[in-house]
């Protein structure tokens, strides 16, 4: 290996592109076959080579980001696909495809190589039924532990009765927490609790006030989003669902993830005018979503910050009004269409632009007020500085993305690194912070609001000057979309919480055969124990608030 090559990493050409042949050479005879996915090439390997292959790709070729694990059942086999990327350059992707036997679907676990595989494999086991050997804790994650069958497998009978128990949770560290001898106390936080931001249950073990063990128990809002999308037709029936994944008004950001994936699957080009509209709408959503994160976080760390929460909601109302004018709804926009958006800006256009400009003009003053009230406040600083620390190496292990990753100094933003929409034509910056703590995570969000405002104002200028006869809002897309059978694609966008991706496999019909959602909150939440264990209980709540999860997206 020449010096230059080692700097580039194995498998990268001089122009910085991926060289899959070189990667294949690196893996040697472990590669049984190669597959073409639209976003990347895939290497088919044996189920007992998973750890070897993944760690070679991670250590030698620099694929340090296990973005997603897709599990699915075919007529003749089960399949796990590990979608890998690089934090340095997310356009460099590779899929590792692991087919397993139909009778005995056992595959080696990737957990020793990537911590994040833990939850992803549990989900694959839960919903599809593949078993992972060597997995530290292979139990159901989304469905109740007494569930019968695997709902996304082919022969699942949805009409079968199910029984769900309501019983006490056991202390995982000591057999009986009521025992006089025991030092620890078991504490349930949630599933109905104001600080969990929804229906999340944290099984927490305390020693005094210190958290010794915390295990997030999710699935209280698992409403079958993937099944719903698999039952819907590409053209119109799927788009309403993404609005409901991350439902804190991040709707357009989510819709974009589906739009991007389906457009890449069906090879649809989006007119520029529509891209600007999308960019504008999406950034408004980001502001609304970040404001909610800030408001609720302030409330979580210190009850008297109620007023900030009220302020955040006051400002969100303004954003929601603007979005309602554009889309017709306050939260569930359903505004994107494959190939564009559903309609143009409401008339009179000037009035709407004026509304946005007013909001943008007032924003700096409002942000200054927030900073006065929150980040400059001593109590707040004591609660947030150096608590909930997440080191960048640890964050990468868990596939953490979004503001949570950027606050750990990971310079990763798909809007810039894997450009889509109109972002690469505009002037804005990716915000990072080396603090790695709760304070940094909140600061990153504050600054991202400013950056989003910058993007929005440029979009408004562009739209204002756009010649009237070039305002194409939608490309020509056939009424029914039937992508070629067995096309596979995985695309992601930068949503409010991080990398929101979708994997689709088509089967020649007008509905996807497999629709898999990569939720940023799912991966981010998995890193919570790293931030909270050893800290005080109050800091656990702060850490949870600072990663800003939304359960609709965690559970899907």
């Amino acid at each position: 290996m020449s010096l230059e090559e080692s700097q580039r990493g194995v498998g990268v050409t001089e122009d910085g592109d991926l060289d899959y042949d070189e990667l294949e050479d690196l893996l040697g005879e472990k590669v049984l076959a190669r597959e073409e996915h639209l976003n990347a090439e895939g290497f088919v390997i044996r189920p007992d080579d998973v750890q070897d292959v993944l760690s070679t790709l991670k250590e030698r070729a620099g694929f340090d980001h296990l973005s997603l694990l897709t599990a699915q059942e075919y007529l003749d086999r089960y399949e796990s696909i590990y979608h890998m990327k690089k934090y340095d350059d997310p356009t460099q992707e590779v899929s590792v495809v692991v087919p397993t036997d139909k009778e005995n679907p056992v595959s080696e676990s990737a957990e020793p190589v990537f911590r994040t595989a833990d939850w992803h494999e549990r989900e694959a086991y839960d919903l599809v039924g593949i078993e992972y050997e060597d997995h530290p804790d292979l139990r159901r994650i989304l469905l109740p532990e007494t569930w019968q069958g695997h709902p996304l497998s082919l022969d699942y009978d949805q009409d079968k009765p199910q029984i769900v128990p309501l019983r006490e949770h056991a202390n995982p560290l000591q057999p009986d927490h009521k025992d006089a001898e025991s030092d620890t106390m078991f504490l349930n936080v949630g599933p109905h609790h104001p600080a969990t931001h929804g229906v999340l249950h944290l099984e927490t073990v305390l020693d005094g006030e210190q958290v010794v063990d915390v295990d997030p128990d999710i699935g209280y809002l698992h409403r079958c989003e993937e099944q719903m999308c698999q039952n819907g037709t590409y053209r119109h029936q799927i788009m309403p669902y993404p609005d409901r994944w991350d439902y804190v008004s991040a709707g357009l950001l989510n819709e974009w993830s589906y739009a991007r994936t389906a457009e890449s699957l069906a090879d649809i080009d989006v007119p520029e005018y529509a891209q600007v509209l999308r960019t504008l709408g999406a950034e408004l959503c980001r502001i609304a979503s970040h404001l909610l994160a800030l408001g609720t976080f302030a409330l979580d760390v210190y009850g008297d910050f109620n007023v900030i929460w009220q302020y955040a909601f006051r400002d969100r109302e303004v954003v929601l009004n603007i979005l309602e004018d554009l889309t017709g709804q306050r939260m569930m926009f359903n505004y994107f269409r494959l190939g564009g958006v559903v309609w143009d800006i409401p008339e009179p256009r000037e009035e709407w632009f004026e509304k946005i400009r007013d909001f943008l003009d007032e924003l700096p003053g409002k942000l200054a007020e927030y900073h006065d009230l929150v980040t400059g406040n001593e109590i707040y600083q004591i609660r947030c500085v150096d608590t909930g620390v997440l080191e960048p190496e640890v964050a990468k292990e868990y596939g953490v993305t979004g503001p949570a990753a950027r606050a750990s100094g990971i310079d990763y933003d798909l809007r810039r690194d894997d450009p889509y929409g109109y972002y690469d034509e505009l002037d804005w910056d990716v915000v990072t912070d080396d603090g790695c703590d709760n304070f940094a995570r909140v600061m990153v969000r504050f600054k991202e609001v400013e950056e989003s405002a910058k993007i929005i104002s440029q979009c408004v200028d562009l739209l204002e000057d756009w010649p009237e006869d070039e305002r194409t809002i939608q490309a020509n897309v056939p009424r029914t979309l039937k992508p070629e059978p067995d096309t596979e694609v995985y695309e992601a966008v930068e949503a409010a919480k991080g990398e929101l991706g979708i994997y689709i496999r088509s089967d020649g019909t007008d509905k996807p055969a497999r629709f898999k959602i990569r939720s940023p909150c799912f991966s981010n939440l998995q890193s919570l124990p790293e931030m909270a264990e050893g800290e005080l209980l109050a800091d656990l709540i702060a850490a949870l608030g600072s990663i800003d999860i939304v359960l609709g997206e965690v559970d899907r």
């Binding site: 469905l143 109740p144 532990e145 007494t146 569930w147 019968q148 709902p151 699942y156 949805q158 009409d159 079968k160 009765p161 199910q162 029984i163 769900v164 128990p165 309501l166 019983r167 599933p191 109905h192 104001p194 929804g198 229906v199 699935g219 209280y220 809002l221 698992h222 409403r223 079958c224 989003e225 099944q227 719903m228 039952n231 309403p240 669902y241 409901r244 439902y247 804190v248 008004s249 909610l292 929460w309 009220q310 909601f313 006051r314 969100r316 109302e317 929601l320 306050r330 939260m331 569930m332 359960l551 609709g552």
Partner: protein
């Protein structure tokens, strides 16, 4: 203060003294008392009075499930401010709440917990179902894991349709409930197919046999007969 007001105050003071005796602090003199004049008693039916009290001040349980809860928060927050109608103070404990707004999709794992929370509320208690999910499962009605509406588990007094309903719609629903409570009207209690029951009370069938070694006899369980769901 104008002399006119002064005059009124003097007259009021007189009626108050007649009612409560001399030297009572001005602060005890409420508007309502002025209306009642020197009469120290009012005559009404006890139940009517209680209903009026109940309907005029309701404590809502702080309870969020899914997307609808975001609009519910907007309903509590500035601009819409549900508290204007006397029902905007969310209580964190079910034991202090009169009203539960159910804002979101209910799935199999959550329904038993929701039922437990509902059971912990003291009587009389009222339920507002917010959104299509609580009405019938909403957009997720066909999901393998989704309970087809809150009414499968607890009785619901008012349904507010929408996905999500606007804050104005929720306010309308809550105020409507308050009005009905004040008038002493209530909804008929509907049959709830899904109950919490002891495992040993379930009819022995295939699923029960299968789970017998995982669930204790006296564990509480909820059994979902998906086939018979609406």
């Amino acid at each position: 203060m104008s002399s006119d007001n002064q005059h009124v105050t003097t007259a009021q003071t007189k009626t108050r003294e007649a009612r409560m005796g001399e030297g009572v602090d001005d602060r005890f003199n409420s508007r309502l008392r002025e209306v009642l004049g020197s009469m120290p008693f009012i005559l009404t039916k006890f139940d009517k009075f209680m209903n009026w009290v109940r309907g005029s001040s309701m404590f809502v349980l702080q309870f969020g499930i899914a997307c609808c809860s975001i609009e519910m928060i907007h309903t509590y927050a500035v601009k819409h401010d549900l508290d204007r109608f006397g029902s905007g103070i969310p209580r964190a404990s079910p034991r202090q709440a009169d009203l539960i707004i159910v804002p979101g999709t209910i799935v199999s794992k959550f329904a038993p917990r929701m039922k437990r929370v509902y059971d912990q509320m003291p009587e009389p208690k009222f339920v507002v179902g917010m959104g299509n999910c609580t009405a019938a499962g909403g957009p997720f009605q066909e999901g393998y894991n989704v309970v087809k509406g809150a009414e499968e588990v607890i009785p619901v007094d008012i349904h507010v349709p929408g996905c999500p309903p606007r804050p104005e719609a929720l306010i309308y629903g809550v105020v409507k409930l308050q009005e009905r409570v004040a008038n002493g009207e209530s909804s008929p209690v509907v049959v709830k197919p899904y109950e919490l029951e002891e495992f040993s009370d379930l009819p022995r069938d295939e699923v029960v046999e299968k789970l017998a070694d995982q669930i204790d006899e006296d564990d509480l369980v909820m059994r979902y007969n998906w086939r018979n769901s609406p």
